[in-house]
């Protein structure tokens, strides 16, 4: 490990994983944490059935407002989604604010309004919170931490350890929308003005899926930082191979264009309204139909499958008939030079 924290430690790629594995998971080790899922799952004395899910996430996005969302909407959707992908019904959220001296109150009001609307739409309540103000320069405007609890019904146990060769992998729509929209806005790049973040709460979509094909969903994950490829590699770490078809992965034309110009790969770009789902082969048609019937899943597609071949690795089949390994991102994705 390098001696100081680098920005790459927060990119969701290999350095982030190393930090979690070698420091946090090691020092905090316990059976619940050791699962390293999107949310922690545990039973509580007195709970008649099922388990509780608990998750937390901090939001430091710049700019605070971007096409398709803002830091407040993101802070609610992100935590709701982290609960939903472990099969939980999100119930209550906390909100912690770190505010920089000098932040216009109007900005904070806008963000809080957005959080309230998003929470209401997702059917969750923000039930506790905290506020800290730091000196100018000690934070970048506004940081938000949200934590959430949800209830996982008895019998639902979604984990990459469930993956079996032949399982199909689906996604509910196009990849890279959020990452590229935020990047264009942040860097003031003008040529991709039609890009919009996919930021959305997925609990309703996921609940519909779990209801339609009970027992057929192996695991789910929201491919945020590090994008689709990082999620697939995390799954492959469970000891299976994964093969995806490049042409089957939905990528919006504008996103593709911006990525081609900058030399970036949309498969590694962040998403905030996407879920990757692995289902048993028998259930794939119905799962796809259920996703496509929901407004947040209209462009859902089957993108690949779990294989017995090449365990631990993710293979991309290209349109030219070649195939290559797609590994975890090492640092932040950087635009090409010439």
């Amino acid at each position: 490990m390098s001696e100081t924290i680098l920005l790459a430690h927060g990119s969701g790629g290999e350095l982030s994983h190393e930090l979690v594995r070698d420091l946090f998971a090691r020092r905090f080790a316990n059976p619940i944490l050791d699962e390293l899922g999107d949310a922690a799952l545990f039973g509580v004395a007195g709970l008649s059935s099922g388990r509780l899910a608990l998750t937390t996430d901090s939001y430091v996005v710049q700019p605070l407002f971007f096409p398709g969302g803002d830091i407040g909407k993101l802070a609610v959707c992100g935590t709701v989604n982290d609960l939903a992908v472990v099969g939980a019904t999100p119930c209550h959220l906390s909100a912690g604010f770190i505010l920089e001296e000098g932040l216009p109150l109007e900005t904070l009001e806008q963000v809080v309004n957005s959080m309230a609307e998003t929470a209401c739409a997702a059917g969750v309540d923000i039930v506790t919170g905290d506020t800290k103000v730091v000196e100018r320069g000690a934070a970048d405007g506004l940081f938000i931490n949200t934590a959430g609890v949800g209830l996982v019904p008895a019998g639902v146990h979604l984990t990459p350890a469930n993956l079996r060769p032949g399982d199909r992998i689906l996604i509910n729509g196009s990849v890279g929308d959020h990452g590229m929209a935020v990047m264009m806005q942040r860097e003031g790049l003008k040529f991709g003005s039609s890009l919009v973040s996919d930021c959305a709460s997925l609990n309703e979509l996921i609940a519909a899926l779990l209801k339609a094909v009970p027992g057929a969903v192996r695991c789910m994950r929201d491919p945020t930082r590090g994008g689709l490829v990082t999620t697939l590699n995390e799954w492959a770490d469970a000891g299976v191979g994964i093969a995806v078809e490049e042409t089957a992965i939905p990528v919006r034309e504008e996103v593709r264009a911006v990525c081609e110009i900058l030399g970036l790969d949309p498969l590694y770009a962040a998403n905030e309204g996407k879920v990757v789902v692995a289902v048993t082969p028998e259930a794939v048609d119905e799962a796809l139909a259920v996703l496509q019937a929901h407004p947040l899943g209209r462009e859902a597609a089957v993108i690949g499958q779990v294989t017995a071949e090449h365990p631990g690795r993710v293979a991309l089949h290209t349109p030219l008939g070649t195939r290559r390994v797609i590994g975890m991102l090492v640092g932040a994705q950087l635009p090409r030079i010439c």
Binding site: R324, V325, R336
Partner: protein
């Protein structure tokens, strides 16, 4: 997507590959000069498609990779000038010099910012009039014109806090250096598409004329590259080396006169130190006298020691096409994108990184 999909058409690609395989009656060894080509060749799996008929070697056309460790140490020292903001292109911040990387300098307190264009650096200079803003200019004839235009703009605006540290390099001298040394026997060269859009396809005539080697200028899509390979294989088989331009939609014989004029106005050609080559005469761009007051190297003289390459690192030979990345004993064992020993492992356009990322065995 227009201008992309038609150059990735699978059926046409397969047809070109069978044509190449049929024509290449003996193994043909080609070098792609440009790091962008290296990346595309791996990304689309073209090596797999051409295996056993065409031996593809990567050349020195990765701007990050050929930037000397001494220049990098100088850039790190420039980032430590009080109040300075050092700006450069993305991959550059991860390349190890003898004193670590710019990224680590940033973590130690230097203000290092990644920009997409020299014009972004100029904007930073406008917003921070009290602070010297240094742009570390790397790259070839592709990036040099925009840096030149940015310097002209800075002059017109009278922005006195904008400086450039020019580590720009010229491509034809590097190809010439490889051929002069003669370490690797090449049958043909895939000419860099974007560089040639600026300098023109005619700039490569010295390859057939002086060295008897064919050159085909290529774009960056699979069909572009396969067309260039097909043209080169044809030249080799027929024994008639020439310069083919298979990137007609981007490259003209005389190149881009406006860009050339801009480079000429701001830069003068001089010797430059290349990683893996040492000093190549007439291969670098230095600021002309009229822009000397914006030359970061002159404005902020920083002392750096000459740097030796890390022990065991064979990036130099990789850049000259003499060995392939897996031939290096550090490759994958010690040197990885996580822990790059040499520059070719850092940049996405570097041969080692491309090998590491894409050529991993599927077992």
């Amino acid at each position: 997507m227009k201008y992309i999909d038609e150059f990735r058409e699978p059926e046409l690609a397969r047809r070109l590959v069978s044509q190449i395989r049929a024509q290449a009656t003996c193994p043909v060894r080609l070098m792609e000069f440009c790091g962008g080509h290296t990346h595309a060749i791996f990304r689309f799996g073209l090596r797999q498609m051409l295996a056993s008929h065409v031996d593809m070697r990567s050349g020195p056309g990765c701007p990050v990779c050929v930037t000397s460790a001494t220049d990098l140490d100088r850039a790190i020292a420039l980032s430590e000038v009080p109040d300075a903001i050092l700006t450069t292109f993305g991959d550059m911040v991860r390349v190890p010099g003898s004193r670590g990387t710019l990224q680590e300098a940033q973590a130690r307190g230097s203000d290092v910012r990644v920009v997409y264009s020299a014009l972004d650096a100029l904007e930073i200079a406008r917003r921070n009039p009290q602070r010297p803003v240094v742009f570390l200019g790397i790259g070839f004839e592709t990036t040099a014109p925009t840096v030149a235009a940015t310097l002209v703009q800075a002059e017109e605006e009278g922005l006195s806090n904008f400086f450039v540290f020019s580590a720009h390099k010229l491509t034809p001298p590097a190809v010439r250096a490889i051929l002069e040394v003669g370490e690797v026997a090449l049958d043909g060269v895939i000419g860099p598409g974007h560089v040639s859009a600026v300098i023109g396809s005619a700039a490569w005539q010295f390859l057939p004329q002086r060295y008897g080697i064919a050159c085909a200028i290529a774009g960056f899509e699979p069909l572009d590259i396969l067309s260039a390979v097909a043209a080169l294989v044809r030249c080799v088989v027929e024994g008639q080396p020439s310069v083919a331009n298979t990137y007609g939609r981007g490259v003209r014989s005389g190149g881009n006169p406006a860009a050339q004029a801009m480079m000429k106005r701001v830069f003068q050609v001089g010797p430059a130190e290349w990683r893996g080559f040492g000093v190549i005469p007439e291969s670098g761009f230095n600021l002309r006298e009229a822009f000397a007051h914006r030359d970061a190297a002159q404005r902020f003289p920083v002392a750096v020691e000459p740097v030796e390459e890390p022990a065991g690192c064979r990036c130099g030979e990789v850049l000259r096409g003499v060995v392939e990345p897996p031939d290096c004993s550090l490759f994958r064992r010690i040197c990885s994108p996580r822990n790059p020993v040499g520059p070719c492992m850092v940049s996405a356009e570097g041969a080692c990184a491309a090998y590491f990322q894409y050529a991993e065995e599927m077992t």
